[in-house]
């Protein structure tokens, strides 16, 4: 490596080590973000507050209620006795779900007729509501199947060889418990590293401009590409430290499995970091002040990587044009990689495509930064 790149790396390292603020950003920020986001974002719907209006008050209705109450998805919070109370419980948010069992419930069942129960769900939180409806439907179905079997037995039919004709059993691969943290955390790692890496480099060139040191560099024989590389490499190393920090913290705090190869994760992280740091560098060559650079870095990375990378919202359900746009976001590719390696244990053979995209983004960013630096002083 040319001596000039070495010198810039060396200088940059000393400066980072002497900057207390920088150390806070490098060490405290990622862990803080991981903990805050990690605990805040949770799509698992468990222990939904459930209220019951049992108009029937029979043995049959109690059996259905206990089926609900025993599941971990619902927690009984109230017994209701009339319709106004039902409205009130939902309005006040005391309950998210109300199960109403009609007076004819046990009679209908005894007569071998189809009966209906009513499940009222607070729809103001659409995600939770749809999950709750799903759970409730499943519970009711299961319960009615049991009743059907019992009825047959009661009629003297030998059911030992009989099972329900279709056993609808969905099995989730890769994330058997459907823990949303398993899905969220790898994405979160990408979001955090994206912001951090961009932030790190975004200030490095503007700082030289603000302090006037840029002129000494321009008149020196340092080539723009050498300067950009010399500035980039120390941050790649520092960001690598953060990769490990965040990943170890994720495994320890959120117990997400790392099925695949840790070495592969690290290697591909390096490529991702180059892209993210490259974006920071480009921002830095354009920005007029450190303040401005920081703001742009946070805006430019947070919004796209949270909203458009597939972190929270599936890319498949976006309009086709937006889907193309998501390819420009490094986090999109890195999230793909992380989820695949962490949860599926995928190898490089499955991941060359996102890797290639990351390489492309990184190369373009670095090139643009060097060009931009040359033109504008």
């Amino acid at each position: 490596m040319p001596q000039r790149i070495w010198m810039i790396m060396w200088k940059e390292f000393i400066q980072i080590m002497r900057d207390a603020r920088m150390l806070v950003v490098v060490i405290a920020l990622p862990v803080l973000m991981l903990v805050l986001y990690g605990y805040a974002i949770n799509f698992d719907v468990k222990h939904l507050p459930l209220a019951i209006y049992d108009q029937d008050r029979s043995q049959a209705s109690r059996a259905l209620i206990s089926a609900f109450a025993q599941s971990e998805y619902f927690t009984m919070v109230a017994w209701l006795h009339n319709n106004p109370q039902v409205t009130q419980a939902l309005d006040r948010g005391q309950a998210k779900v109300v199960l109403v069992i009609p007076t004819t419930y046990s009679a209908d069942l005894a007569a071998g007729q189809t009966t209906a129960v009513q499940v009222l769900v607070d729809g103001s939180d659409a995600t939770t509501a749809s999950t709750a409806i799903g759970y409730a439907q499943a519970m009711v179905q299961q319960h009615s199947a049991q009743i059907a079997v019992q009825a047959l037995q009661g009629a003297g039919v030998n059911t030992s060889g009989v099972s329900l004709p279709v056993d609808n059993r969905v099995r989730y691969w890769y994330n058997p418990e459907l823990k949303s943290t398993n899905f969220i955390i790898p994405g979160l790692i990408a979001v955090i590293l994206m912001m951090l890496a961009t932030l790190l480099t975004s200030m490095t060139v503007v700082r030289e401009r603000e302090r006037g040191t840029i002129e000494s560099l321009i008149v020196s024989p340092v080539m723009p590409v050498e300067l950009m590389l010399g500035k980039l490499i120390p941050y790649v190393l520092i960001a690598f430290f953060d990769v490990m920090l965040v990943m170890v913290a994720s495994v320890l705090l959120f117990h997400i499995p790392l099925v695949g190869s840790p070495v592969l994760v690290l290697a591909l992280s390096g490529i991702f970091l180059t892209a993210a740091l490259g974006i920071g560098l480009l921002i830095s060559t354009v920005a007029t002040s450190q303040q401005f650079a920081m703001t742009v870095a946070v805006m430019a990375t947070q919004l796209p990587s949270v909203l458009m990378s597939g972190f929270l919202f599936p890319i498949n359900s976006m309009p086709p044009k937006v889907q193309l746009l998501t390819l420009l976001i490094p986090a999109t590719h890195f999230i793909k990689i992380l989820r695949a390696v962490f949860l599926k244990g995928s190898g490089f053979a499955d991941l060359w495509q996102p890797t290639l995209f990351l390489l492309l983004i990184g190369g373009v960013m670095l090139g643009l930064s060097a060009l931009r630096f040359k033109k504008k002083v």
Partner: protein
């Protein structure tokens, strides 16, 4: 085109720099032979830094051409870089690096070999009197030391030509003296020094001066030649009370070509020395007390003021 005997360190032809509609440097031409201490003198905003920055490859000229060490500043800037040293007007070393680290950084960036660098570092530390402070953070140094370190870093790679942009701005007079001693040292080693300043006493130290005003070159020559050429007639230093009345009276007085306020005194140019006795009588007759009135040799400042007045008059006439 004929080639001059002495090789040129700097050669500027019709150089122009515009920022939008504003012309910061307006068709200036001059040459600097090798080994000279060349001063670039001008008031704030005259275009000194802009010119130097074009020569060092920081800014691209709008028009005209410049050659440094024989290379074109636009097309061959890479070849110029290792041959020049530059000290910018704004302090531009890393304040969070130590004295030694700054020297090592710039030495390394300029490709000075490890062995040579150790030697240069030693020399710079001694020259700048910073040996004891070698491990201090640069930001903690007083301005005078910082400037000397900046000079050291600018010459760590032993450039042929050294560009100094107001190297002594904001430095106390003693440090300025020391700094100029260093400049002489460097020049003594055969380095061409191109230095901007607006201190007249510093300008006197230069072999040759270019005076620049509103982006235009208004005079070029040795300090002595500039003084002789610009001030035609005899320069008088007059101390008189009340000063305002004296100023007004002198402007009307016969034989007087120019009056300027110069500290507490007035500098007056008369056509010949014969006018001196009658001038004293002229003032006394107007109830003005004359405490001193004597011919003096024009200073560089007198020359500078006279040149700027001429330039302003010409500009005014050009507008009419």
């Amino acid at each position: 085109m004929m080639h001059t005997e002495v090789p040129l360190a700097v050669e500027v032809t019709d150089l122009v720099k515009r920022f939008g509609a504003f012309t910061a440097v307006d068709h200036i031409s001059f040459t600097v032979p090798k080994g000279e201490i060349f001063g670039f003198l001008g008031p704030n905003g005259a275009g000194k830094s802009t010119t130097i920055r074009m020569l060092c490859g920081i800014l691209v000229p709008t028009a005209g051409s410049g050659r440094v060490a024989g290379f074109d500043v636009v097309t061959e800037s890479e070849r110029i870089k290792t041959r020049i040293g530059y000290m910018s007007q704004k302090f531009s070393l890393y304040e969070d690096l130590t004295v030694e680290e700054n020297i090592e950084f710039y030495g390394g960036v300029y490709g000075v070999s490890r062995h040579k660098l150790a030697e240069r570092k030693q020399w710079i530390l001694e020259m700048a009197n910073l040996t004891e402070r070698r491990t201090s953070l640069t930001g903690e140094l007083a301005m005078g030391w910082k400037q000397r370190l900046a000079l050291g870093c600018a010459i760590v790679h032993e450039p042929e030509i050294l560009f100094l942009d107001e190297p002594t701005a904001g430095v106390d007079p003693i440090s300025r003296r020391t700094f100029w001693d260093l400049i002489y040292d460097v020049a003594g080693q055969g380095v061409t020094v191109f230095v901007t300043t607006h201190y007249m006493d510093e300008a006197e130290h230069c072999d040759r001066l270019a005076m620049i005003y509103n982006g235009q070159l208004i005079a070029l020559g040795s300090p002595q030649a500039l003084k002789d050429r610009t001030v035609s007639g005899v320069l008088l230093d007059i101390q008189a009370q009340p000063a305002m009345a004296a100023l007004e009276a002198l402007e009307e007085a016969p034989g007087v070509t120019d009056v300027t306020i110069f500290g507490s005194a007035l500098h007056v140019i008369v056509e010949t020395a014969d006018a001196i006795p009658s001038l004293r009588d002229y003032l006394t007759a107007r109830q003005i007390t004359v405490t001193a009135l004597e011919p003096i040799l024009p200073s560089l400042e007198d020359a500078f003021v006279a040149l700027i007045e001429q330039a302003d008059q010409q500009a005014a006439m050009g507008k009419e």
